[in-house]
């Protein structure tokens, strides 16, 4: 059965691109969230196998969202999507329990490899 992924990013463009990559590679998109709070709500209702999480988002950012999700489900698998120059924040996310991260701009291969590994 296809694995369910929740996409979290405040930019429509990034969500579209990720969705495209995922669907073409046999993943099912369980939902899309545009900030950390939405991500947390959707995580509880959809119970996805994996979450791709942007870092900088309005209201509740990605790091806070990872903390919330991990508290709700310690086994949750969250892969961070970071940009260059966000070293510090990536490390914070890892401390908060993120299993991996991918760096923008995305390339399909990398995204899929990271997700496959995270789900293995």
């Amino acid at each position: 059965m296809a694995k369910k992924v929740l996409i979290v990013d405040d930019a429509v463009f990034m969500r579209m691109k990720l969705k495209d990559i995922l669907e073409k590679n046999g993943y099912e998109v369980a939902g899309e969230a545009k900030n950390g709070q939405e991500a947390f709500d959707l995580y509880q209702s959809e119970k996805p196998d994996l979450v791709t999480m942007d870092i900088t988002m309005p209201d509740v950012d990605g790091i806070q969202a990872v903390k919330m999700i991990k508290e709700f489900d310690a086994a949750a698998k969250v892969v961070m999507c970071s940009a260059m120059g966000q070293q510090g924040m990536v490390m914070d996310a890892i401390r908060a329990g993120a299993v991996d991260f991918i760096v923008k701009p995305f390339d399909t291969d990398r995204v899929i490899k990271a997700l496959d590994k995270a789900l293995n």
């Binding site: 940009a83 260059m84 966000q86 070293q87 490390m91 991996d100 760096v103």
Partner: protein, 688 residues
């Protein structure tokens, strides 16, 4: 992405400026030590950082130029290109252009490639020359390329070079307790971005499995991504080497992993790793700098939060100073509350006590603020080595610049205003002071001219001196020129004649060059120094050299002043110009042909009747005070009616209209709320 970046804008500018200054300094050094590999590495790094930052910010023109520059540095680095003076000059021009671009970006200017095309082409030309250069070097280049390609595929090795005896002891003990010591070597995908966090992710995952007792490179370098692709570690764990390997491979962008039980015999090399000892060394020497940058960054971020996208001048403040600040302020709040309390209960005694504390704390605060405003003169001095080098090339004269006391501190306002006058003076020394090599040889001087810039503190003043061993100012030439320009030189001493260089529209240079022009500028120097409340002196000997001394007050905003009265009005006179005060009888003032003088024990002193100069009614009383001041090496006596005493005053700017009067430096608010003007004694004396 775009709006993400605006947050980093301020930091970007600050860091780019730092990097550019570093490049400037390093390139200058490189010219003297073209073979210094460490230096080239450092230069390469700074250029690389600059490129990365500008690209991330989306400043494509800037990143394009830095990229091309980086290519050249890469050629230096790989010995494919020899560092020559021409290359250095080209790079300097690129750095200037980058500074220009940076200024433009700050003003949100739209930039196109046209701005950099000429430089880019020149750099490209250099690159092409290397590529099409002599066949031998081409072969080398090809060989190098090959080496570069094969280099990354060099086998990943489990070999430690920095294990300490203590680590080995720990491993030994672990074995006794049946805990496995496992070594792991990890190669990150060479294409991987954010290597630091990537390594951190691996370490973080392993940390849950046991104790990591050693990593190469050290953990902080790993986190900062200061390694090529490989890193190694030793972990004490109950898991097997296979489990550890699996765990590491569960992260993405890991190219290769080797794990094995730790073995001291085969995995430890006692000598430094043979592959790249140089890189290792520079990495260590970089470490303290890196941490320093870190703290600086925090400060910068704080600044950025306050003045987003504004051109607010920022200043970096030592955190401990800010902490002390907070302490004093919180204490101040306590005593203010006590004061309010005492006031409401009308308890004069208690109020008095609190007030004493408040006054102690305010002076402490004042002291702290002044310290925070202090900046090293290095901020200005650091640009001169580069300038002298350029001048030396342009003028085709050999000269060297020596700098001393660059860590002397001055008020930030003064420091930033100092730039212009110093540029004028240094240029003047290089252009008019230092002679050409032939003349110097004939005079028995070393061929290379010497210019020395130094700063030191003396009391509450800072002295900045510029010395050159050039031709000096010839008073006779000065006199002739002055007379040609219609300046009356009768009775002028040699020194006074020499000071004429600072007179508006005066030039002794026979040649007019585009470097120091026709002597416009030196009078601007005098004006600027006056404006800063400083003074200027010249000592010069023909064929020996010239020494210019600039004396500046440590701070501009709060000064010690002598408070005086003229009639009913109160005035302030900056204490630093006051030599002493004499009580005099107005009847004893003598009239000479051109001026009024007063006979003092030290001789006749010109008298200035201040009330008359300021257009105030003159007090009838004969008993006066004469304040002796020194202005331009001459003594004057300023006559006032009454002395009030010495006081610390805060200088407030006055209306530009009032400034036109040129009698006052500013104003200050007195304890009773009334206003006193601060006399500008220098201009008043010059008016005589």
């Amino acid at each position: 992405m775009a709006d993400d970046n605006s947050v980093y804008r301020d930091i970007f500018f600050e860091e780019s400026e730092d990097n550019l200054q570093q490049l400037n300094d390093n390139i200058l050094e490189l010219e003297n030590e073209p073979e210094n590999k460490d230096l080239i590495n450092e230069i390469f790094r700074a250029a690389h950082t600059l490129k990365g930052m500008s690209a991330t910010m989306g400043y494509n023109v800037m990143s394009k130029l830095t990229h091309k520059m980086e290519d050249i540095f890469d050629l230096f680095k790989s010995d494919k290109l020899k560092v020559t003076s021409d290359h250095i000059s080209l790079i300097f021009r690129c750095l200037d252009k980058l500074t220009e671009l940076l200024d433009g970006l700050r003003d949100d200017e739209e930039q196109t490639d046209a701005l950099i095309m000429d430089l880019w082409n020149e750099l490209d030309e250099v690159e092409k020359q290397v590529a099409s250069g002599a066949p031998v070097s081409a072969e080398i280049a090809a060989a190098m390329k090959e080496a570069e390609i094969t280099n990354p595929t060099k086998d990943l090795q489990l070999l430690f070079s920095a294990l300490e005896d203590a680590d080995l002891d720990v491993i030994e003990q672990a074995k006794v307790q049946h805990v496995n010591a496992i070594s792991a070597a990890v190669r990150i995908d060479p294409e991987s971005m954010l290597k630091g966090p990537r390594a951190f992710l691996v370490i973080e995952k392993l940390d849950n499995e046991g104790d990591i007792i050693h990593t190469e490179p050290a953990p902080d370098k790993l986190e900062d991504g200061e390694f090529e692709t490989d890193f190694k570690l030793v972990i004490l764990t109950e898991s097997s080497p296979e489990q550890i390997k699996e765990l590491i491979e569960s992260s993405s962008e890991i190219a290769e992993v080797i794990t094995a039980p730790f073995d001291e015999k085969t995995q430890v090399s006692k000598i430094t790793q043979p592959e790249n000892p140089a890189a290792e060394q520079t990495a260590t020497s970089q470490a303290p700098e890196a941490t320093q940058k870190q703290t600086a960054k925090t400060v910068a971020k704080k600044n950025a939060a306050h003045g987003k996208n504004t051109k607010n001048q920022s200043i970096r403040v030592d955190l401990s100073r800010l902490d002390r600040f907070l302490n004093v302020v919180s204490e101040l709040v306590v005593y203010r509350n006590q004061l309010e309390d005492a006031n409401s209960r009308q308890n004069v005694e208690e109020a008095h006590e609190s007030l004493e504390q408040v006054s102690r704390l305010t002076s402490e605060l004042q002291d702290l603020v002044l310290k925070i405003r202090m900046q090293q003169v290095n901020v200005v001095f650091s640009r001169f080595p580069r300038m002298v080098r350029d001048l030396s090339n342009q003028l085709n004269k050999k000269m060297a610049l020596e700098i001393e006391g660059e860590d002397t501190e001055l008020d930030k306002t003064v420091v930033s205003e100092l730039n212009e006058p110093l540029i004028h003076l240094v240029r003047n020394s290089a252009d008019h002071g230092i002679e050409d090599a032939e003349t110097r040889k004939r005079l028995g001087k070393p061929e290379e001219g010497k210019i020395k810039l130094s700063a030191y503190q003396e009391g509450n003043k800072v002295l900045i001196t510029l010395t050159d061993d050039g031709q000096g100012l010839n008073p006779q030439v000065m006199k002739e020129t002055a007379e040609k320009r219609g300046i009356d030189t009768t009775g002028m001493s040699d020194k006074e004649l020499q000071m004429l260089v600072f007179d508006p529209g005066f030039s002794t240079a026979k040649k007019i060059t585009n470097i120091s022009g026709r002597g416009v500028g030196l009078d601007a120097v005098q004006a600027k120094i006056d404006e800063l409340g400083g003074s200027l002196e010249v000592e010069s000997k023909v064929d020996v050299g010239t020494k210019t001394v600039i004396k500046l007050p440590l701070t501009l905003s709060i000064i010690q002043a002598l408070m005086v009265k003229l009639g009913d009005e109160t005035f302030a006179i900056p204490l630093d110009v006051v030599e002493r005060v004499e009580m005099i009888q107005a009847d004893n003032i003598l009239q000479t042909a051109s001026q009024e003088v007063y006979p003092l024990q030290t001789g006749l002193t010109p008298v200035i009747r201040t009330a008359r100069v300021l257009g105030l009614p003159e007090n009838e009383s004969s008993k006066k005070y004469m304040i002796l001041i020194k202005s331009d090496e001459k003594n004057f006596g300023i006559v006032v009616d009454q002395l009030i005493g010495q006081q610390e005053i805060v200088i407030k700017k006055i209306d530009p209209m009032l400034q036109q009067v040129k009698r006052f430096q500013g104003a200050t608010i007195l304890g009773n709320g009334s206003i006193a003007l601060i006399l500008d004694v220098n201009t008043i004396c010059k008016g005589v």
